[in-house]
């Protein structure tokens, strides 16, 4: 499903070159729930963004459903991301002016892929926001916003859901709720989930933990 081989990412800062990712290889199967753990600066988020095509790599290969996404051009990559991947962030990054429903369907609308509310209602039910569909996201709590972000990421039924510290800005109770939701998504929808987290306890609830340190998988 997802396979990376010898991925290296370096960044230049003035005269010095720094390896953010060093020769990382990894394989994730369809339906996995994977947590990437590690201290700050380990390269977890960078790896996640490289996997999702938001960040480029210096060397190596990234294959998703056997498609080498590292070779895709910007436009094709965006389309691929839209059709196959879902991404959620620590800071939610919703469009504050829109309602819950509008946030979820907006990109699909732009691609003219939004047909009816059937799947939307299902998703809202899954994330527990049915009664908030027409509420502006600015009026929601942090946990609710993250649930909107999850629903938005799932709207196009992606194969993989990437989550960058989805509970990082939430209290423990809400974090628990969100993690349960991700489990539910993984279990009920069969979506592969790859999350980056600091929380050991939450990571343990995923099927697999990948530990990173200094840009390498340990």
């Amino acid at each position: 499903m997802l396979k990376i081989e010898n991925v290296t990412k370096t960044v230049k800062s003035g005269q010095t070159t720094q390896n953010i990712l060093s020769n990382v290889s990894l394989e994730i199967q369809q339906g996995d729930f994977v947590s990437i753990l590690g201290p700050s600066g380990a390269g977890k988020s960078t790896l996640l963004y490289c996997l999702s095509g938001l960040s480029s790599i210096t060397e190596g290969k990234i294959l998703i459903a056997e498609k080498p996404i590292h070779t895709l051009k910007e436009e094709a990559l965006a389309k691929f991301r839209f059709e196959n991947l879902g991404i959620i962030f620590q800071d939610f990054h919703l469009i504050p002016m829109l309602t819950v429903k509008e946030n979820i369907i907006f990109v699909a609308q732009m691609y003219k892929k939004y047909q009816d509310d059937t799947y939307l209602k299902e998703l809202l039910d899954i994330v527990g926001l049915t009664d908030k569909a027409d509420t502006p996201v600015a009026n929601l709590s942090g946990g609710q916003r993250q649930r909107v972000a999850i629903a938005r990421a799932l709207f196009m039924k992606p194969n993989i859901l990437f989550a960058d510290e989805p509970t990082g800005n939430l209290d423990s109770h809400t974090a628990e709720v969100i993690t349960s939701l991700l489990e539910k998504v993984n279990r009920d929808l069969g979506t592969t989930v790859v999350q980056v987290t600091h929380a050991e306890e939450l990571a343990k609830r995923s099927g697999r933990i990948i530990r990173m340190k200094d840009g390498e998988i340990v």
């Binding site: 389309k79 059709e83 990054h93 829109l98 691609y111 502006p136």
Partner: protein, 761 residues
């Protein structure tokens, strides 16, 4: 105080551009205010000068025969004397000693005088006089001045044909000759016996300088344009008012935007323990610093460039100060009400409800326009604008691009979007107003330019012709008739001899008037044989009728209007006509057969230029005025265009920056850059289109309102028409801005790093 200084220092270091932006814009706005008031001032002066032309005592008639020998500088230098109401009175000697020989004259046939650069011998003809240099200087006489020499009770006009370079026969004690006149003519004028006229020195002679009112037809046209100038002034005043309002709004908008940008920092300062009242004081302090800088810049610019009175400074500073106070009051109250913690945490949006006020004000204007001019057209326009307003606010379009725009109009960004729309509207209004104003200005001053050209340049089509008139007034005619048995002008109309009353206007004034007239005579027509222009008083004689003068037949080809002249001229013929008819020199007509007084026939095509000294001076002033006005207007319109462009660009770029993260999020969610760019394109042009349409509607209605207002208040019907060309110009500027914004945004989006943008912002 120290904390304030530190804050200001760090703030301006960090946000130099934010600081310079408003500063620059404010400076420009102030320049516009000054520029418009300055233009107004100039217009006012112009109007005043026209009034002066109409009612003032324009006294000297100058005849500039030898201009071609002079440089322009010399010319101007020579004709800058002020001598509007000076009469040559009896001199001191006369008054003190009751002597009679206060003016010395000499009768000669030829006078030597010098006109740079040639020495010439001047043959005295008719009522020509040559005066000594010292005499001319003492009485401020110039060539072409009319003087009256009066013996006993008989006055006669003489024209200063030349000023000698020396005092010729004059003596130091005032004796001797200061005025040289023709012996023969002098004798005839004053019914003197055949003897040497020089013996008359010492008789009771008075020299009186004429108070002649001389106006060209063009001047009269200008005078008639005074009403128009007043209207223009009124229109300019309205434009000023609009600009003031709009500028105030822009100023306010900039403060608001600057404040919203600043709120974050103020909130952090508040969180770390600085009281709100101290922060409020900080804001005031900052604004005062800002204003001090602006005042300084303005003061320097104004003093250097604009010769304005203190009252204008006070007025403009007062307006600015009021704006600052209002803006400060507003942002202070906003800041006081802001829950800074909530704001920093993103839980509270800064809502600026006042953002809608201008929109509703404009709406009120529309409604008012409907009320005052309830035409179907007005109602339709208002209806469209209201529909647009509804769509704008509550639109329910399904297309995704439009939907985004609709969504973007919510919450926080709504204020910025409104600001952009408002800016679009006011920018267009500004541009329209400026162009309209310029059009009016140009229309207003066009006649002046025309006037200048006609005064200074002899154009073929508008050649100035100076001619003679047969007789001057009834008294003179009767006098001549009785004393010299002169027959009145031998003019026949269809074979019937006309009486003198038919031809001579009654002149109430004691003074004899000058013989000069200038009008827009069709030279070609006039020169085409025996053509004559008659005074319009003789319109009872029809065009193409034949009249006889001095036994010569002339055909009436037109009339001239001498109502504005103090003299009543009868007829204008061309020198060419006389020559062609009689094949004789003009001088032979002067006293031909003692039947007709033909003092002199001027009219050498392209040779003589007539004009009063004041008119001449005025023409120079007009030229200078027109040039100044043109410069001011150019600066004015450039400023307006610049500020409009800057405002629009600024607003769009602020919006773009605010939306950058939004675009990055959409990009992360899989929206391709192509689609993002498309979104951006439609957003810019949909907003631009809305602004344009609303501006168009408002413009039309506002103009109609002003038309009604002007008609109601001052009773003038001034059509305020914005031509298609003007609209196209404004729309062109607007489109240019939109295209620049689009291209810049497109480039920005192309280069956008999604991840970096999400993280950084």
């Amino acid at each position: 105080m120290k904390i304030y200084q530190q804050f200001l220092k760090s703030y301006y270091r960090l946000h130099k551009m934010q600081f310079l932006g408003p500063l620059f814009t404010l400076t420009i706005i102030c320049a516009i205010l000054f520029g418009s008031i300055s233009a107004n001032e100039l217009i006012a002066k112009q109007t005043e000068s026209h009034f002066y032309d109409q009612y003032g005592e324009v006294t000297q008639i100058v005849r500039l025969q030898h201009d071609q020998f002079r440089s322009e500088d010399d010319f101007v230098k020579d004709w800058t004397g002020k001598n509007k109401t000076t009469y040559l009175q009896s001199n001191g000697v006369h008054e003190k000693n009751n002597k009679v020989n206060f003016v010395n004259f000499y009768g000669v046939d030829q006078a030597f005088y010098k006109v740079f650069p040639f020495d010439q011998v001047y043959e005295l003809k008719g009522n020509d006089a040559v005066v000594s240099a010292s005499f001319a200087k003492a009485h401020k006489l110039k060539k072409g001045d009319m003087i009256t020499i009066k013996t006993y009770s008989t006055p006669f006009d003489y024209q200063v044909a030349a000023i000698a370079d020396g005092d010729f026969f004059a003596k130091e004690d005032g004796q001797g000759a200061n005025i040289l006149v023709s012996k023969e003519q002098f004798r005839k004028n004053f019914q003197l016996p055949e003897k040497d006229v020089t013996t008359l020195a010492g008789t009771d002679l008075k020299v009186q300088k004429h108070k002649n009112v001389y106006q060209t037809e063009n001047v009269r046209e200008n005078v008639s344009a005074i009403g128009q100038m007043q209207m223009i002034q009124f229109v300019v005043m309205i434009i000023d008012a609009v600009i003031l309002l709009v500028s105030t709004y822009i100023l306010f908008g900039f403060y608001r935007m600057a404040f919203v940008g600043k709120l974050h920092y103020l909130s952090i300062l508040n969180i770390i323990g600085i009281q709100k009242r101290r922060l409020t004081a900080l804001m005031w302090l900052e604004n005062i610093v800002l204003m001090t800088i602006i005042y300084s810049i303005l003061a320097i610019v104004s003093v250097c460039l604009l010769p304005l009175g203190w009252i204008y400074y006070v007025a403009v500073y007062g307006i600015l100060l009021a704006t600052i106070v209002i803006a400060n009051g507003f942002i202070t109250s906003l800041f006081r009400k802001t829950d800074v913690l909530a704001y920093i945490l993103g839980r509270e949006q800064v809502k600026i409800k006042q953002g809608w006020v201008p929109f509703f004000v404009l709406l009120l204007v529309l409604v008012a326009a409907c009320v005052v001019k309830p035409t179907i057209y007005t109602f339709v326009l208002v209806g469209i604008s209201l529909l647009f307003g509804v769509f704008w606010m509550l639109g329910n379009a399904k297309q995704s691009s439009v939907q985004l725009i609709k969504h973007l109009n919510r919450e926080r960004i709504v204020n910025e979007m409104k600001a952009i729309l408002m800016l679009a509207i006011i920018s267009l209004l500004l541009i329209y107003a400026a162009i309209t104003g310029v059009q009016h200005f140009i229309t207003g001053v066009y006649s002046n330019w025309k006037f200048d050209q006609q005064i200074t340049v002899n154009e073929e089509k508008t050649v100035e012709i100076q001619t003679y008139l047969a007789v001057n007034n009834v008294e003179q005619a009767e006098f001549l008739w009785k004393n010299y048995s002169l027959e009145p002008l031998d003019v026949k109309h269809k074979g019937e001899k006309l009486s003198i009353d038919d031809l001579i206007g009654i002149n109430d004034q004691d003074d004899l008037k000058g013989f000069n007239i200038k009008g827009n005579i069709d030279m070609k027509l006039l020169q085409a044989g025996n053509n004559v222009y008659l005074n319009e008083k003789y319109k009872k004689y029809h065009l193409l009728d034949e009249v006889q003068m001095d036994g010569k037949r002339f055909e009436i080809v037109g009339y001239f209007d001498s109502s504005m002249n103090a003299t009543d001229h009868v007829a204008i013929v061309s020198e060419e006509s006389f020559r062609k008819l009689d094949d004789t020199k003009i001088s032979q007509f002067y006293i031909k057969n003692d039947e007709l007084i033909l003092n002199k026939l001027y009219g050498e095509f392209g040779d003589d230029i007539l004009g009063t000294m004041d008119a001449r001076q005025q023409s120079l002033d007009n030229t200078s005025f027109a040039q100044n006005l043109q410069s001011v207007l150019m600066i004015f319109i450039l400023f307006i265009a610049l500020i409009s462009i800057l405002s629009l660009l600024n607003s769009f770029f602020i919006l773009r920056d605010k939306q950058q993260k939004l675009f990055a999020i959409l990009g992360a969610a899989g929206l391709s850059k192509k689609k993002l760019m498309s979104l951006n394109f439609w957003q810019i042009f949909a907003l631009g289109g809305q602004g344009l349409l609303i501006a168009e509607v408002i413009l039309i209605l506002v103009l109609r309102f002003f038309e009604w207002f002007i008609q109601t208040v001052i009773g003038q019907n001034i059509p305020l028409v914005v031509t298609y060309e003007m609209q196209l110009q404004a729309i062109g500027v607007y489109l240019f801005v939109l295209i620049v914004v689009w291209l810049a945004s497109r480039r920005n989006l192309k280069k956008m790093n999604i991840l970096q943008t999400i993280r950084e912002r």
